[in-house]
Structure formats: C-alpha cells, structure tokens
C-alpha cells in the first residue's frame, strides 16, 4: 500500500474524465465526465491527507468541500441542460452554438 498507487489511479481517472469531456456529444455525458474528474481530484486529496498529513487530515475537509461544489455544479448544470433542451430540442453538443462566433 503506497501513496503512488492511489496517485496513479487518480491520474488514470482524471485522464478518462478529460477524454470524455472533450469527445462526448451528449451534454449529460459531459456532466458525468466532470464528476469523474472531480472524483480523481478527491482521491488525490485523500491520499495526500492519509500519507503526508495523517494527524490534521485537512485533505478530508477539502474533500468534503469538493463534494459540496460537485453537488451544486451537477444541480445547476443539469438545470442549464434542461433549459437549453426546452429551447433547442436537442442534447447534442455540436448544436449548442448560441454563443459561437
């Protein structure tokens, strides 16, 4: 059980999240990829908290805040998706070009 195992797992999860974020066509899958990346960050925080700072565990406190922000982000993100879906009748990222030049 070493610190490096957890850091490598977190790096792999983060890379998968970035891939999904960039290549997904469905908006909801983009939101899921963002959740994957936030989870990777959380694994990093927890690993550092356990191996480098086991007494004060500030990493765990940070992880709770990250969970909070992820929950708020999912709620607002899905509300935006629903709002766009009602106006444009699609969930395709390629057609969300209202702000595109």
């Amino acid at each position: 059980m070493q610190l490096e195992y957890f850091l490598l797992l977190a790096a792999a999860l983060f890379s998968i999240g970035v891939y999904g974020l960039v290549t997904s066509r469905n908006v909801i899958r983009v939101l899921m990829s963002i959740e994957l990346m936030l989870n990777a960050v959380n694994i990093n925080l927890m690993a550092f908290s356990n191996y480098l700072d086991p007494g004060a565990i500030k990493g765990q406190v940070f992880a709770v805040f990250v969970i909070t922000i992820a929950a708020a982000e999912a709620a607002v993100g899905l509300a935006i998706v629903l709002s766009i879906y009602r106006n444009r009748d699609t969930v395709d990222m390629e057609q969300f070009n209202l702000l595109k030049w």
Partner: protein, 120 residues
C-alpha cells in the same frame, strides 16, 4: 497503513451481500423454464398491459424534488461532524451552525414559495 477498526465485519457483510443477487438471479435462471415468447420480453407492469414504451419524457417535477434533496443531503454531510464534535465546540459552534442552517432555510422557503415541493 490501515488504522480504522471494525471494517473486517464490513468486508464480510460486503462479500455476503454481493453474493445475494448473484445467487438469487442464478437460481432463478437454473429453475425457470426456458420459454422465449414475445410476451416474456415485455415490460413487467404487475400484470397489466404496458402502455407505450419506457423511453418517454418524464415530468420535470421529478427533477425539482431531486434538486431539493441534493441540497439538503449535502447540508446533512456538513452537520454530522458538528453533531459528533458538539461538546468540544461549545456555544460559539452552536451559533455558527444555526447561521449555516438559517441560510439554507431561506432556500427552503424559496423552493416552497415557488411551488417546487408540490406535486399537483
């Protein structure tokens, strides 16, 4: 280094509970007659004929309830450590937690006034 206590029982229960669905579905797979008619592939609706497909658009009220639930679920996560460490935090911690709750009660009142908690 693993320092938490009591998780050996957790592991035992995890293994047992993950075996339950495997055994249940496997036993029914072995015991049931292998009939593959079109009726056995329809959606199970407690004996009624299913009307329409399952891929329909649902009412947005489901989303409203889930939204309110998410917010107050996160509030629970914040209040649990406060309750555990209550005696060490004293009166000041109590007041601070009351401020925390009061801010979220404003959101609850807003959701209530906007009708996000009503089904009709």
């Amino acid at each position: 280094m693993f320092v938490l206590s009591g998780y050996e029982y957790f592991l035992g229960f995890l293994i047992i509970s993950s075996l339950v669905p495997v055994v249940a579905l496997g036993a029914s797979k072995l015991l049931r007659p292998a009939s593959a008619g079109p009726a056995s592939r329809t959606t199970y609706e407690s004996g009624c004929e299913p009307i329409g497909g399952a891929w329909i658009q649902f009412n947005i009220r489901y989303y409203m309830f889930a939204l309110v639930f998410v917010i107050f679920d996160v509030e629970t996560v914040f209040l649990y450590p406060w309750a555990v460490a209550f005696h060490k935090l004293g009166l000041l911690g109590f007041v601070e937690a009351l401020i925390f709750i009061a801010i979220l009660v404003v959101g609850l009142v807003y959701a209530w006034r906007k009708g996000a908690l009503e089904w009709s």
